[in-house]
């Protein structure tokens, strides 16, 4: 009976942080609910392996990570096809001079995030990325840029992770340039 009581209190206490994190990484609340449900089912069936060495939430978050990775792997089994045509010409040179635009940001990045409008613009730009890139990008930053770990979990090569980060960042630069820096 003890197990049931512990699980019950976990569901009560940790559903919220787990759901919020999952919804952030997956950019979809319904998928997040399905995945967190799997987390609790897994926690229930492997409860005996939880030794109390870490905090319950840490343990559950680790399970969540694995479930997100499973989801990603199943959804994107083939090698990603990443094209840079939008940014570079056939010789690999920049297509235009936009990259030279002045961001006038020396030392101001700290303040940028204090600006609600900037935060909204940034979030919109991130959400505009396809989920195939967005999920690794978010996991990369959530896990403090541990490239090796993220690529192992998602079962993508590190080379592909670099390509995904490169492609995402090129797009984020363009998006922020168009929607923020050019306007302010």
């Amino acid at each position: 009976m003890e197990k049931n009581n512990v699980l019950k209190s976990w569901v009560e206490q940790y559903s919220e942080p787990l759901l919020k994190r999952a919804a952030y990484v997956l950019s979809d609340k319904d998928t997040a609910k399905d995945i967190v449900q799997d987390v609790f089912l897994a926690a229930f069936s492997s409860y005996e392996s939880f030794e109390g060495k870490s905090k319950p939430l840490t343990w559950l978050m680790a399970i969540l990570n694995r479930k997100v990775s499973d989801f990603y792997r199943k959804k994107y089994q083939s090698e990603p096809h990443i094209t840079l045509d939008h940014f570079f010409d056939e010789t690999g040179s920049w297509n235009n001079n936009e990259v030279l635009n002045d961001w006038d940001s020396s030392g101001k990045e700290t303040h940028l995030l204090d600006d609600d409008d900037f935060n909204t613009t940034l979030e919109d730009c991130i959400e505009d990325l396809p989920s195939r890139w967005k999920i690794p990008l978010k996991m990369y930053y959530l896990q403090e840029k541990k490239a090796q770990e993220v690529s192992q979990e998602l079962e993508i090569s590190t080379t592909n992770l670099w390509k995904i980060l490169q492609r995402s960042r090129l797009q984020l630069r363009e998006c922020l340039d168009n929607n923020w820096f050019k306007k302010s």
């Binding site: 919220e16 759901l19 919020k20 690999g92 995030l113």
Partner: protein, 90 residues
């Protein structure tokens, strides 16, 4: 024309920007780093991009770090809790 020539000879910008990701993550090899440095010396576009990459990295580090969450409304969370409790027969 000169720009194209130089870029092809050393390292195209499309690859330099990939090496920047590896450099940014501390995963660049010495040879790659030398090639990238040489490229940056002669390419003002990539120099400009590298600056922006650093700004983006800094913003994303702060923005997407540990506490990152998406808001979900309380009634959805309650509904979810009930559903799970039911499923697990708690």
């Amino acid at each position: 024309m000169l720009k194209k020539f130089i870029h092809l000879l050393f390292l195209p910008c499309s690859e330099a920007t990939l090496l920047m990701e590896k450099q940014n993550a501390g995963a660049i090899s010495k040879t790659e780093n030398r090639r990238l440095m040489l490229h940056l010396k002669i390419c003002k576009w990539c120099r400009a991009y590298q600056q922006k990459l650093k700004i983006l990295d800094d913003i994303l580090k702060r923005k997407c770090s540990h506490k990152k969450e998406t808001e979900i409304n309380p009634s959805d969370i309650q509904e979810f809790k009930n559903k799970i409790a039911g499923k697990l027969d708690l």
